[in-house]
């Protein structure tokens, strides 16, 4: 994270901004009218693999309404003239910790959330914003265990605050398999046991209900039989059993079963005499750190495991840990400076995932990588890990390598180096757009410029991989969030 000297007076501004967030939320669209923005672009890289000239993007209330050469504009409609610019989907960084402090945590704590630690300054995300990033996934800290759940933020508050998704993917570290692999597999197995526990309780409940219903039925039948008989005492209220005949079963199933062990005791009804409505099944409580894993195993929408793997070996450990489970997951490999290199290459970032490229490809993994070339371990040969991954059939998403300002500022330049190293331009664009959105589980809303998606755009002065290309404007949900003309946030 970059450090910026904050004058004492600015502190007030920060707090003012913080206080203002809830007040300003959705202020822009409070009037009830539809809010239209049209962006006339010279060229559009949609992120779906297409690149079109002279396209108008029509935005309605922050979502893309139409995109094409001839789009009828409603009135009133704000128009952004970008006919000399190149538009592409705003960059998404799947791994960032900007504005967050390190809260120590240990073990498997999937119940903790980054959102609880999120107190951003108004200018917290200015660096990525100016570099063309519109969305960040803020991940929990630490390199061990399961530190909690990520959140998704936009880099500028355009009317509804920073938060896009307060509770995102579960982050799991696998850098030190000796501890982490066991932790991950135990979390998954624990969740499996929780699911089994609930299913068992449900089965028991159903069985009891059925038994109770049968008993009731039997009683009714008996009553029906005995009704004409003179032995029945007259004032018996309906529903209460008559003097039952000697029952062969000494412990008849009560119609209202006692709460089972592990089940929260149900509150006694105020009027116990009245016939109760059919009981609802109350599942036994699930341990909070395991609940997200239960969701993962049950494939709940939005459940995603964001796994930080180290070297290629740790991926094998991930495969072992998740052998019996089918969990939606994204792999993130940080590119750490490799050790033991000869002098001129010392400290150059790199990863050795290419060794296992075939395995990544077989599983069609989505791998989040920094856009860097790597060195072969122990040698000074370059290897283009992102390219090798794509060749093998895996998907790659690019993310800046850490939160240093230059990682954001030189993001497209770094991608350019990877393209120069042999990666196909289309693959690189997909890695910056579509797959980056997939990597944070936001493919429904972000990543490409298509009808219905969020209007997060980046307007560049030239092709994104042109070294001289500058960010002219950043549009977040239809609003100009940053522009070069104004030298900053709008």
């Amino acid at each position: 994270m970059h450090l910026r000297a904050i004058p004492a007076a600015a502190a007030f501004t920060v707090f003012a901004a913080l206080a203002a967030i809830p007040a300003r939320a959705s202020a822009a669209r409070d009037d009830g009218d539809d809010h239209y923005v049209a962006i006339h672009c010279g060229r559009v890289i949609t992120g779906t693999g297409e690149e079109k000239e002279h396209v108008t993007v029509l935005v309605k209330n922050g979502k893309i309404q139409a995109i094409g050469e001839k789009v009828e504009l409603p009135r009133p409609c704000k128009v952004i003239d970008a006919t000399k610019l190149v538009a592409m989907p705003g960059h998404v960084a799947p791994h960032s910790r900007i504005s967050l402090m390190d809260f120590p945590r240990a073990g498997a704590r999937a119940d903790l959330k980054v959102a609880d630690e999120f107190f951003p300054a108004a200018d917290a995300f200015d660096v990525p914003l100016a570099a063309g990033f519109t969305t960040l996934q803020l991940v929990p800290p630490g390199a061990m265990g399961i530190p909690g759940r990520a959140m998704i933020v936009r880099t500028a508050d355009v009317g509804a605050g920073f938060v896009v998704e307060p509770v995102g993917a579960i982050k799991a570290n696998l850098l030190t398999p000796a501890q982490d692999r066991r932790m991950l597999s135990e979390a998954l197995n624990g969740a499996k046991r929780e699911i089994e526990k609930v299913e068992k309780a449900r089965a028991e409940f159903e069985a009891k209900k059925k038994a109770a219903a049968e008993a009731e039925q039997k009683k009714k039948e008996e009553e029906a039989k005995k009704a004409p008989a003179p032995g029945t005492p007259p004032g018996t209220p309906p529903g209460t059993p008559p003097n039952p005949p000697p029952n062969p079963n000494p412990n008849p199933q009560p119609p209202n079963p006692q709460p089972k062990e592990g089940e929260p005791p149900k509150p006694e009804g105020a009027k116990p005499a009245e016939p109760k409505p059919p009981e609802e099944f109350q599942p036994p409580p699930i341990a909070p750190p395991l609940q997200p894993f239960v969701d993962l195993i049950q494939k709940k929408p939005g459940a995603l495991l964001f796994v930080r793997i180290g070297a290629a070996t740790t991926y094998l450990h991930f495969l072992e840990a998740t052998k019996d489970f089918e969990v939606a997951h994204v792999l993130y490999a940080d590119v750490t400076p490799a050790r033991g290199r000869p002098q001129p290459f010392f400290g150059v970032p790199g990863t050795d995932l290419h060794w296992a490229a075939k395995k990544f490809g077989e599983k069609k993994e989505l791998v989040v990588l920094a856009p860097y070339l790597s060195y072969v371990q122990g040698a000074v040969d370059f290897v283009n890990v992102p390219e090798r991954m794509v060749e093998a059939g895996a998907h790659v998403a690019f993310t800046p390598n850490g939160d240093a300002p230059d990682e954001f500022n030189l993001f497209r330049y770094n991608v350019n180096e990877v393209i120069k190293g042999g990666m196909k331009r289309a693959d690189a664009i997909a890695a910056m757009t579509k797959h980056a959105a997939e990597a944070i589980g936001m493919q429904e809303r972000l990543g490409t410029l298509e009808v219905g998606k969020d209007a997060n755009l980046l307007l560049l002065s030239a092709d994104p991989f042109d070294v001289q290309a500058r960010v002219e404007q950043v549009v977040i949900e239809g609003e100009v969030a940053w522009s070069r003309e104004k030298k900053g946030r709008s």
């Binding site: 398999p177 000796a178 135990e186 624990g190 072992e320 019996d324 489970f325 296992a356 371990q377 040698a379």
Partner: protein, 550 residues
């Protein structure tokens, strides 16, 4: 704080929870392993991981069965690897010239002649080359991880490739033996809890150890008496191991190997005495002056891991033999001591002097030969003897059917100064190919003869492979295993010529006489009843790459 405690409690609960299918699968036995286990059900090691899994299996047999069924469905095809036409040095069973070694699912299926190689098998043509079991490093640093080895080893590391290129396939790191399964975690851990270090140096320590051993021995005797009494129907109170050190019980029970790190003759003599008296398994690392007390060590039945070339000048002031000699290995060996050899420094470097580290595994063994150790014993010191000392000789250390297919293929004799490792195979998988790795690629290159596995032929008409003259083929448990899935057809037309078809009189230019070689029992076995043999395929090797001096 409370939350942290909660988390801790949860973790503890998770740890105590029953083993999951995932864990089970991880420690589950492969069919091939099961086969070995069938053979020797009691041969479980103390550190054997499978025990808990087995215990659980016993609990839920039907569940396990269903799981197995499912697994069988998902089971991958058999993986075959055939090393053709090489001179197979089995170590335990002589040398088979121009023989075939066939591995199935990581295990050696057959070694010998006239072995049908399934058409889908991956092959390495080792014509003119020498096939040895992979070498064992009884100690190492920097290749495998720490404890636990299977969770801390980087299986894609350059050091692992380097170690394979030097000929090692199994290494000890800390107290565990692991294999160099490059690119895979399967079968990495060979055995954990190899030994118990014992410090028997000072007088106080010695007294304490002897007292504790006495107590342990007394207890064991009492327990045996109790068991005998109970067997004969008497009611006696069961003795309780109060105040008895558990470790010594294990040691005396033969479950654990004691490791001593000593070199001086006084220490060696006292250890020999101790081991003779109490009768437990022991290995001595160092044993520099072992040659002086070789007879006592041999009688005590201890093993030695030595570095033959350890300079220690004799102290002439002393009135007895002392110091190091290059004959140490030979003298120990001649007195029946199991000898394994390791280089002086157990790391891997590219800048060390010759024989100083793991880069040159064989130099120390060759120095031992200079001191009089026979060629066979020197080979064994790097392979089977090391495996025996570590208690893993049922898996590695020699090329026998049923053992793991861990082998190296060299262009010359293992104990020649100028032999290169061209291929290394671990668990039936090619993990090092000199022609493809940048390490030694440019030195004396030969084109790779490795051929990827071919897609499986249609399942009909798959005769069992005939093994007419396989050396030391495993008899038991074999048929059952083959029943599951038969090897493929006989090689189709255009396949590699079959193994063992080397005509009798064919010259072997690269074979050099070994004066100190014991006569090999199967030096010249020939497929008598076999079909007329075509010429051995040598096209894969260019003539100029065969060394002139051999």
């Amino acid at each position: 704080m409370g939350r942290h405690l909660e988390g801790l409690a949860l973790l503890l609960a998770l740890a105590a929870a029953p083993r999951s299918p995932a864990q089970e699968a991880f420690t589950d036995v492969t069919p091939a392993r099961a086969r070995l286990d069938d053979k020797k059900p009691d041969d479980k090691k103390p550190g054997d991981e499978k025990k808990p899994a087995d215990a659980k299996d016993a609990k839920k047999p039907d569940e396990k069965k269903a799981e197995e069924e499912k697994k069988k469905k998902e089971e991958k095809k058999d993986e075959w690897l055939a090393v053709l036409n090489g001179d197979v040095h089995t170590i335990t069973d002589g040398v088979l010239r121009g023989a075939t070694l066939l591995a199935k699912n990581g295990r050696i299926q057959a070694v010998g002649y006239a072995i049908e190689v399934p058409a889908e098998a991956a092959t390495i043509d080792a014509a003119g080359m020498h096939v040895y079991p992979g070498l064992l490093a009884v100690n190492s640093t920097g290749v495998l991880g720490g404890e636990p080895v299977d969770l801390t080893t980087d299986v894609y590391s350059q050091n692992m490739t380097f170690a394979l290129a030097c000929g090692w396939t199994t290494m000890v790191s800390g107290n565990s033996a692991g294999k160099l399964t490059w690119g895979s975690l399967d079968g990495l851990l060979l055995r954990s809890n190899l030994w118990m270090r014992v410090n028997y140096a000072s007088g106080d320590e010695r007294r304490r150890i002897r007292e504790e051993l006495d107590a342990a021995r007394d207890f064991l005797r009492k327990r045996r008496a109790f068991e005998q009494a109970r067997a004969s129907g008497q009611e006696t109170p069961e003795p309780k191991p109060e105040g008895v050190n558990e470790a010594w019980l294990k040691l005396l029970g033969g479950d654990v190997l004691a490791r001593f790190d000593v070199g001086s003759v006084e220490d060696l003599r006292s250890i020999a005495k101790l081991v003779t008296e109490y009768g437990f398994k022991a290995v001595i690392f160092g044993a520099t002056e072992g040659w002086i007390v070789a007879e006592e060590l041999g009688r005590a039945g201890v093993s030695c891991v030595i570095t033959p070339h350890t300079p220690r000048v004799a102290d002439t002031q002393r009135n007895r033999a002392n110091g190091a000699t290059i004959e140490n290995a030979a003298l120990l060996w001649s007195h029946g001591v199991k000898v394994a050899v390791i280089p002086q420094s157990q790391r891997l470097s590219s800048d060390g002097l010759l024989d100083r580290d793991l880069r040159t595994p064989t130099v120390e063994a060759m120095l031992a030969m200079r001191g009089g150790l026979p060629h066979d014993a020197a080979e064994a010191a790097l392979t089977i003897n090391a495996a025996r000392i570590l208690g893993v000789d049922d898996r590695v250390g020699s090329l026998e059917p049923g053992k793991d297919a861990d082998l190296i293929i060299l262009d010359g004799d293992l104990l020649a100064y100028d032999s290169f490792v061209y291929y290394a195979v671990v668990n039936g998988r090619l993990v090092y190919d000199k022609a493809k790795e940048p390490l030694f690629r440019d030195l004396r290159p030969r084109p790779s003869t490795y051929k990827e596995p071919k897609p499986e032929p249609p399942p009909e008409a798959k005769p069992e492979p005939k093994k007419e003259e396989g050396a030391g083929e495993k008899k038991e448990g074999e048929g059952k295993h083959e029943g599951e899935k038969k090897p493929g057809d006989a090689p189709k037309d255009g396949e590699k010529p079959k193994d063992g078809e080397k005509p009798k009189g064919e010259p072997k230019p690269e074979e050099k006489p070994k004066p100190d070689d014991k006569p090999k029992p199967e030096e010249k076995p020939k497929p008598d009843g076999g079909p007329p043999a075509p010429k051995r395929d040598r096209t894969a090797i260019s003539s100029d790459s065969i060394r002139a001096d051999s």
